[in-house]
Amino acid sequence: MAAAISLAPPPGLAIAEELPDVLPAREPLKGFAGFIRRRPSLAFGAGLLVVMLFFAVFAPWLGTVDPGALATSKRLRPPSAEAWFGTDMLGRDLYSRVVYGARVSLAVGFLVALFSSALGLAVGLVAGMVRWIDGVFMRLIDGMMSIPPILLAVALMALTRGSLQNVVIAITLAEIPRVARLVRSVVLSLREQPYVDAAVAAGTSTPMIVIRHILPNTLAPMTVQATYICASAMIVEAILSFIGAGVPPITPSWGNIMAEGRALWQVKPTLVFFPAAFLSLTVLAVNLVGDGLRDALDPRMAKSL
């Protein structure tokens, strides 16, 4: 039933393709240099991500001013020693806004990845372990997955006021079905494994089986999936802001800065360029980390992707 939907990669922006169905094996790391040489794109992605995290965490100490402070007499200034990226249409400092924006985008990315993994894991485990719930859950999940995720997130945002919390909830809800499907398929394949059969035969309780045998094996594919969800969530956040349904516009998020600047694209391309570059680099970094993790955690897939 509905096999194409269940077996294939998730729709939307997440891009995990296939699941490992065996226990992942870790390769031993031979020093930092060896790591970089062996996995250059993972190293590059991780490095870039660390830089962005640095921006996010230390935003107030990086030469920034209050990102919300208006100065209408100094609007639309070009980049200068005083305002490194110039100022926007309300005279706010673009550099400060972009640096503070890293907080919002990364928060959305990480929180959505965390919550959708946790909730998706719960739903997937229950569905995978309990037969009669499986039917109901899977119908629900098929239904939700038939609504394109951006439409679903936009529709959810239309329900409520724009806030960071609501954006995270909306994107999380749109992503949960995908994680749940992934976890369920891992659980179903694990249940066929002889050692699980053996555990059942030995009278181990179901929660114990889950904790000992099932859970550890879902972690690797879920970690990979979570990075892709993180990347996807940051893009969706920008699109929500573009449509006018994102985090509150007084919050400087990259999506908001671009949405505000887009009308002036021809006269002040920097208003879109700087946040777009930061967003693209961050998403790129997360995607590269995701690819790298997948290669590292799943040697079988590593050769092919």
Partner: protein, 536 residues
Amino acid sequence: MKGTFMDRRSFIQASVAAGFIGATGGLSAPAIAQAGRKTLKFVPQANLANFDPIWGTQYVVRNAAALVWDTLYGVDEKLQPQRQMVESETVSDDGLVWTFKLRSGLKFHDGEAVLAKDAVASLARWSARDPMGLMIKALQNELVAVDDLTFRWSLKQPYPKMLLALGKNNAPCSFVMPERLAQTDPFTQIKEYIGSGPMKFAQKEWVPGAIAVFEKFEDYKSRDEPSSWLAGGKRMMLDRIEWIIMPDPATALSALQNGEIDWWENPLSDLVPVLQGASDVTVDIADKLGNVGAFRMNHLYPPFDKVEIRRAVLTAMNQEDYMRAIVGSDDALWKPMPGFFTPGTQFYSEQGGDIMKMKNLDAAKKLLEQAGYAGEPVTCVVAQDQSITKAQGDVTADLLRRMGMTVDFVATDWGTVGSRRASKKPPKDGGWNMFHTWHAGADCLSPAGYNALRANGEKAWFGWPNSPKTEEGIAEWFSAADVEAEKAALARTNEAAVNDVVYGVTGFFLSYQAWRNDVQGVREGPLPFFWDVTKA
């Protein structure tokens, strides 16, 4: 169950097919017929989402309706109502009985003659919705057709502003529709768009949110006088006008530069330098009457139920910040405005307006303290999809924060603001403390079209200000005998409205319009006038 599924599927197939056939059938005919005809492509300020100018009163609906429907009177550029569909009128000496005679030979787009019964039904529907219409209706004895072309409106008390009411350009205008349409309930939309104006509405080509098309009405009988705003002969030099909706100013800018559109109603002022630099585009002020920026405070709930706290906001604010945020860096485009009536017009007054010039944050903080402001949150609802409300909201958030007030900034869209501002509930239960909007300067000339200034408490516009002195002044104006008395009445109104802070004026600003050089005859005015416009 299976049958159900097939129903849905075949429905989708049918509608997909209908889309192709509909689009092909609907669009190929005009495409072929277009050769040699003059088509103007116009980008309006907003989407034409509904098209009943009595039922919905957005500016964009009024502007489109002015092409399709004619009015009994029309104001000219001097703001004087002139006869339009009416040939002559008489008023009895006691001012109680108005008798109007229509011009003969006027026709609706369906070929039917325009008769007195149509005018009577249209006025009845209009007077159920329009603020001035409601005043007349309250005084009405009877409104009847006397013969085919004559109708009579008799009143219990004189209403000196009758002709202005029938000719004003403030929505809803008293458009004349065929009787069968005008009999529609005023709170239900009409389903056919038939008028007697110079252009027909091509209903089949209308794609709300994308395009609206108007075709020349060959049987339109224009007046002989030269045209002036809604008055005079509305001679159409164009065969077809396409209103193309563009949600994105960056796209509209490129399209105008590329010659894909002819006329852009409201270019962002920050983009105007690009257009001024283009040799084949003309840019000019759209309307000297401009616009009045506004924020409204909810007078029913703390903190703005206290007049001192409302005054504190006026004391602290700097209109310059609001205006620069709206119009950009060109200082010729805005003026501070320590009053409520449109600057540069006869009733403009600064009486009592000194508080609006103070820009004094410390004085404001002191006022807040004296009024006992205790950190009650201000729920500020701001529409993000309108550049004017968004810019003002950003400035207000900064202002209140600097004053030391607690701001609960609710970013949302114009639709939600529209619904939420109507709620009289406490802010925490879905109500509000503050929202932003703007009014066309043409609406703020006098109390005639100025709903936002009314201060009759629960019956007033959103925010429900209660200022008896303001209301007294307005009443005096309506019954004033001459211009001097009118001016005196409105100066007093202005002072009272400032003292009680009916609403917050953020300044007066002009906006631009831009068109390709091969278009001639674009004029200034509160709405785009298409008559006498030519395209090479």
